[in-house]
Amino acid sequence: MNLPADSRDRLYAALAESISEAGEARESLFLARLALLLFETVGDEVRCRQAVNDALHQLPMPSLSAEVRPK
């Protein structure tokens, strides 16, 4: 399943807006909820587990996103 480029662009922006809207205090909880919802949507343990592994693989310490900038 390939996501069309323009769809990916729109989803990227929508998620970014949502993370900002959630705010720093709720950022983790928001992303955790998103992950659980996507598991249900994907409905495939192997693919979900692969995504979890990929997200952890070479996970850097944040430098670009380390601090929350003032709006």
Binding site: S28, L29, A32, R33, A35, L36, L37, E40
Partner: protein, 595 residues
Amino acid sequence: MNDSDDKVGEFTYAHHAVRLPVLVDGMDPTRCRVAIVGGGPVGLALALGLAVRGVPSVIIEADDTVCIGSRAACISRRSLEIVDRLGALPSFLAKGLPWTGGRSFFKTQEVFRFEMPHDDLQRLPPMINLQQYYIEQYLVDAVRHLNDGQEGGLIDLRWGSAVTGFSCRDDGLHLEVGTRLGNYAMQADWMVACDGGQSLVRRTLDLPLVGTAYEGRYVIIDIHLPSSHPTERRAWFDPPWNPGSTVLMHRQVDDIWRIDYQLRAGEDTEKALQPANVQRFVQKHLEAIGEGHLPWRTVWTSVYRAGAMTLQRYRHGRVLFAGNAAHTLPIFGVRGLNSGFDDADNLAWKLALVVKGSAGEALLDSYSAERVDAFHINAASAMRSTEFMSPPSRGFELLREAALSLAGLHPGIASLINPRQTEAVAYRNSPLSTPDAAGLPGAAPGVLLADFPLEEPGRHLTHLLGPWFTLLAFSPTGRLDVAETALAAASKAGIDLDLLLVCAARSSGSYAAERGDAAAGQPSWRRVVVPDPVFEAHAQDEPALYLLRPDRHVAGRWRLRRSDSPAGFIAQLGAALKRACGADSAAADPTEMPT
């Protein structure tokens, strides 16, 4: 116990007399077949399971009463089936509170409702609540009842007697027993440690428990509260009146309610148990759920920490372990005592066969293998519940809150909240099972055959099963030849076997005899008629046979073809019976009949 020293709710504690056996030089001269260390529910269930199979035992119990304090409170359907065969079911059902489900709340919103499998065809409820002192008392009553009918009594229950030491010898055990009337020694062929989480037998043999212990602590408070709320399991996550914590509430008999709540990290255990703090916590909780106006008082308090730990083997020579002496499981999902009843049920028939000389000692190794396997299955479910009830790390904390906050609108995610109540465990790797090639619709080898209703109103399969093996022969035509083949097989194998010829209601008219005569040395059989869907759940167009162990797990199953030779089936059933009794047989032939 705050009511008085000898009464809690409507329950009155009986203090049993301490007795010494007639001694010769400080020694009980009668060597016992089975010494059971500990007269709690598991020890009592084991003694009864041996006695119904004609095997005597001595129970050595340190206290002179049944248990004191908040202990097990939920009895599963599977445990009730076991209790039924021990003769104690009517009192359990008369007093216990049946229930089928529960609700979970996140803050104040109900986000999940669960129902345990139940329908009108079931004989027993999926769960009853009954305090452990009642459980033990009803088993003690069953012991007394059973002994009255037997000369001398098959169960010698020695109250106020503590095993203080023992030594293992090749041919048996030498036990030291201490009582307030004096000490004595006794000998036994076998010893079963049912002496609980702090097992003296386990510590004496220096056997380690291995597994996982969790940091989370729960305070357990039993209160007397005249509430009329129905019997169900309620769980509150992060309730506003106790933010950050998890609170559970269960109804028990005699208007006693159990409230469990999680201590936060760093909260002091002793401080939490101080009466003023218990008072404040409970009153606040009752007010929040609309019951703050009811008068209540504390009955018992204790602290619990979750762990899933086991011995690596439950047989060490002539010493066997059962219940909490063998393993400990987290309370969530109520697998503690319920798995102990399963231990006793699994061990009783095997030890009885070994003591009678009908099976070799290898059968007892299968007890260990099957029940250690069951521990791991139970522990996996219990630990998933525990990780939710008492998150062990930041990741579990975060995802729990994510799941709880989504559960109200997303039923799939809500199922993560399910407390995963105990269910019957299958012995899928059992050395006693005959490998299966039958492709039948019913329970596979190792699986517990689910109880089913008969056509006769109010009657179920479990009303008909005896203490030994049973062969269920499902006959699509209702004809007898299946039964005759099976009977010949059982008789040839020389093993006690009851035979039930099972017919579908639609074909039962074509059949005359109701019951076979049990000729000398011949197994008896009887015919039962079941609703058509029950028949179809076990057999198709050809006759099907299920060999049930005494604990109702399937040992093997076969499909009989018209072209099959009776001699071929007789040989297979004989081999399967020997295997189910622990004979060290190589992998049996696939179960298709030779033609």
